[in-house]
Symmetry: C2
Subunit: 200 residues, 2 copies
């Protein structure tokens, strides 16, 4: 038993965080109460702001509290004519850290999964097709995860690109098959960018 209902509530609420069990939730609660109440208050404020204000970029679907995210807004990135398609927002961070890519992104927020009712529309492919038709991209780089679903999704998007006559490539070498893009180290990811192959 805890010595206070509110402390129990705090420990329970902290468990919404991934990887946080009862023991570490308790440690977190005590840490904040004992040593960092202002940090806890600041976290509370930014949590409310973020949960209520962060939506999806109108152009690339990644997380942003603006209509259009900072990457899509950047003229230098627009000028490259490159569009990299990824599954999740975290993949953008992983690719940004390699410094190998200076174009823009498109975030599927998942992958095709017909059995779960996730079709082309659910991963924003209507928006992607509209952009490919109306903007001028020089190349679409498919950086979905090297899994069965990621590959199938990449193939599906490659077809759209080829029908529109847009050069399309798939990042390839170095990513361990079955792995998650977000977990790959920078060097591996760099190689997979350099070794990308065009889909004809």
């Amino acid at each position: 038993m805890q010595t206070s209902p509110l402390l129990e509530n705090l420990i329970e609420a902290l468990r919404c965080l991934p990887g946080v069990g009862p023991k570490s939730a308790q440690r977190m609660a005590y840490h904040l109460l004992q040593r960092d109440r202002s940090g806890g208050m600041a976290l509370s404020r930014v949590l409310t702001e973020a949960m209520s204000q962060i939506g999806h970029c109108e152009q690339c679907r990644t997380f942003t509290e603006e209509d259009v995210c900072t990457i899509c807004c950047n003229p230098r990135r627009q000028n490259t004519g490159l569009l990299c398609v990824v599954e999740m927002p975290a993949d953008i961070q992983a690719i940004e850290q390699t410094g190998q890519f200076s174009g823009r992104y498109f975030v599927l927020m998942g992958h095709l999964s017909p059995l779960d009712g996730i079709g082309p529309k659910e991963i924003g492919l209507d928006l992607l097709q509209h952009r490919l038709e109306t903007e001028s991209f020089t190349e679409v780089i498919l950086a979905t995860n090297p899994t069965i679903e990621g590959d199938a999704t990449a193939n599906y998007i490659a077809e759209i690109c080829l029908q529109l006559g847009i050069k399309v490539s798939r990042i390839a070498h170095g990513i361990p098959v079955g792995g998650e893009l977000e977990m790959v180290d920078g060097t591996t990811l760099t190689h997979s960018f350099i070794g990308r192959r065009q889909i004809e």
Copy 2:
């Protein structure tokens, strides 16, 4: 770079939690945004409440949002006449889980550390002495950590008890020397309670 300043703020704010580095803070932020916004909002609310309302129990100094905590208020615990002195609120939880102790606690919120300016007053020994003089305890059990500072603090409190003619004991067997009470398993802690020895 993140795609939004607010997302960056959220990731930074999550790092106030112990054991949370940049990578896991990012994973937590994405998890909340993608899958559990209501959990994030609930966490925000209870964080504000807890950080602003939780203070210390007037009797035992543990964390509570009331004047007196649920353990100190409990008549059955008052009737035992036992008082267990611990360093931190987390130690109460560890002891409660053994089911070996049904008395009340006194939380020092630290231990004597003269070089850091932490003397008897800073760990509430004036309050403890006042309680020992005005209430009738049958035994004081010293459950400070088995470290140099914890032992020195226990010795100091034992002296107070002996001067007041109150039976005083130190939990002993089983706790690895240099270890932290909070980390000890329940069986070890149970043995250390059963094998406690009176200080004469």
